[in-house]
């Protein structure tokens, strides 16, 4: 019995160490010179400030952070509004017709992005001709095709099943309009569902790589993942500097995760229960 205990702890300690190690190494490397990073040094150096200075002097990190923030915040707001309204609509105004529509929408979850990226690119190339502000190389083009996801609609519909329907009846008697019910009663009651959905949506938008890579072209529109990828594949890269860029972008998400861990996990697993 004790051997089993011992094995359990040993295994979990090793698993935890392997999981955390790249984070430690990333932070340590951000304090080292490029040569030391390739040599795999594990001791903290004194070049953190220099690396960060180099980063902000050689690329427009602020611009990339701003672009990413702009896209992620806008995406999250639209996503939540649209998906929650739909999840609410499908569940509260249930009918056979709507269930069919719901299942058709769910089928879109099976569509691999790689399968539609070429036609999407062509679509936005055409949009560029008539509406340049929404076409190739704009934040709008990054946001527009990605903010509506069947997953999030499904997530809100599942959560709405727990919502007490009596509250709607009460609201109707009080003379609230159907739209009013959604904004005045549903939204405030479902705060924690919105919080969970906001975290997953924000992170997936913040980390999105392939579609922005296709649709964004000029350096001033670049998002953080594009910038890091470019730094990493550049000619004679400065590894210490790249690691400082990675630390700067990873720490905020790790921090958000630590504060909102419970909601984050609830948001991930809630939809499939």
């Amino acid at each position: 019995m004790n051997i089993k205990r011992g094995f359990t702890y040993l295994f979990l300690i090793i698993a935890a160490l392997i999981s955390i190690f790249p984070f430690i190494w990333m932070v340590v490397s951000a304090t080292n010179a490029s040569v030391d990073v390739t040599k795999g040094t594990l001791l903290p150096g004194s070049r953190l400030i220099e690396n960060i200075n180099n980063l902000f002097n050689s690329v427009d990190m602020w611009q990339a952070l701003w672009n990413s923030a702009k896209i992620s915040v806008t995406s999250t707001i639209f996503s939540l509004l649209v998906a929650s309204a739909a999840g609410y609509g499908f569940e509260m105004y249930r009918s056979r017709g709507k269930d069919i529509v719901f299942n058709i929408l769910l089928a879109s979850m099976m569509i691999p992005f790689a399968a539609i990226m070429v036609p999407l690119f062509q679509m936005f190339a055409k949009i560029s001709e008539v509406m340049p502000f929404l076409g190739i190389d704009t934040a709008g083009a990054v946001i527009l095709p990605t903010f509506t996801t069947a997953f999030l609609i499904f997530f809100f519909r599942q959560s709405t099943k727990m919502f007490p329907k009596d509250m709607m009846e009460a609201g109707r008697i009080d003379g609230l309009s159907e739209i009013g019910l959604f904004f005045r009663i549903y939204m405030p009651t479902m705060r924690s569902t919105y919080a969970a959905a906001a975290i997953i949506t924000f992170l997936s938008s913040w980390n999105n790589y392939l579609w922005p890579l296709i649709v964004l072209q000029s350096p001033e529109n670049m998002t953080v993942p594009l910038l890091i990828s470019n730094l990493g594949s550049g000619y004679a890269p400065d590894y210490g500097m790249i690691m400082s860029a990675i630390v700067i972008t990873t720490l905020p998400t790790a921090f958000v995760f630590f504060i909102m861990q419970k909601r984050f996990v609830a948001g991930m697993t809630g939809a499939v229960k």
Binding site: A86, P112, Y209
Partner: protein
């Protein structure tokens, strides 16, 4: 459904007007997503299918019938990409899911101490962006990198392993990287389902004399079947779409040894002389695989739960 509707109608009077208005409001709530998903998912799917029968440079496309599909079968780069993707799929997905399930079972023990620490630590990789962690792994697995240094120090290897530049080890590096990033993610799904299992079921089994091993296979696995199916399908779809890691760790190299199907589609459309028609044909091969594999997995794992 009908009783629900009737209940709803009691409060708004029996006026046809109110009923119609409520029904229309219901549709109004789902108007935007129906339009968006049709325009940005279903329409491009149809477009891709049409495109797959055309070929040419850039926007200068001509109808070529099934030529793209015959080209597919003799395209060595495509076949390599498919082979690589299946190697990832057949090795990485099972290893990761078994590991995730194993960790979840260990963590589900009530008497375990530091549970919160272990859970948080193992889940932490999930918060990293795919690009960021890929770049970190690229340097960690460099020829003079920390991983080789560590293995040499532990006397596990004599010579540094060429993790990035050797065709065999490059695949292993990609598999290790994906496993690092997604094991904790899948573990959380298992853990939250395990916590929903009534402890008395195990108690009863123990009284009947079933050991831990038996309990695992006769209680845990059957009860987790739906979630195991879910994680298998999402991991399969994820692997078929593998892009960020391959591009940022090995660039698909050396040669095409690690190239994934998604990367090949990207290269056909945006790196080489663009041939959108042929790229669409390749992308339909992913659709076909997703559909086939999901059907197979549903068949194996999804027998009707009564």
């Amino acid at each position: 459904m009908h009783t629900e509707k009737a209940g709803l109608n009691q409060h708004i009077g029996k006026s046809m007007n109110g009923r119609t208005r409520i029904r229309l409001t219901g549709w109004f709530f789902m108007l935007v997503p129906v339009v968006m998903i049709s325009v940005f998912y279903f329409y491009p799917m149809v477009q891709a299918l049409l495109l797959s029968f055309k070929s040419g440079r850039g926007s200068n496309l001509q109808f070529v019938g099934l030529d793209n599909y015959t080209r597919l079968l003799s395209d060595t780069t495509f076949l390599t990409a498919v082979k690589n993707t299946f190697i990832y799929l057949l090795i990485q997905v099972p290893v990761m899911l078994v590991l995730a399930l194993f960790i979840a079972v260990l963590l589900n023990d009530d008497r375990l101490r530091f549970k919160g620490f272990f859970r948080t630590a193992i889940f932490l990789p999930t918060v990293t962006s795919l690009v960021a962690y890929s770049v970190v792994f690229k340097y960690m697995f460099g020829a003079d990198g920390i991983v080789n240094k560590f293995l040499v120090k532990l006397h596990l290897i004599q010579e540094p392993i060429q993790w990035i530049t050797d065709p065999f080890w490059a695949k292993i590096t990609i598999i290790i990287a994906i496993t690092w990033r997604f094991t904790g993610y899948n573990m959380i799904f298992y853990l939250s389902s395990l916590q929903n299992i009534d402890k008395s079921v195990y108690e009863a089994a123990r009284i009947d004399g079933a050991n831990a091993f038996r309990q695992f296979f006769t209680i845990t696995i059957p009860l987790l079947k739906p979630i195991i199916l879910f994680t298998t399908i999402t991991s399969t779809i994820g692997t078929l779409q593998l892009f960020d890691e391959v591009v940022n760790i090995t660039k698909g190299g050396p040669g095409n040894a690690t190239m994934s199907i998604s990367q090949y589609i990207y290269n056909l459309s945006f790196e080489y002389t663009p041939d959108f028609g042929y790229a669409a044909t390749v992308s339909y091969s992913i659709v076909l695989m997703v559909v086939l594999l999901t059907m197979i997995q549903n068949k194996i794992g999804g027998d009707k739960r009564s």
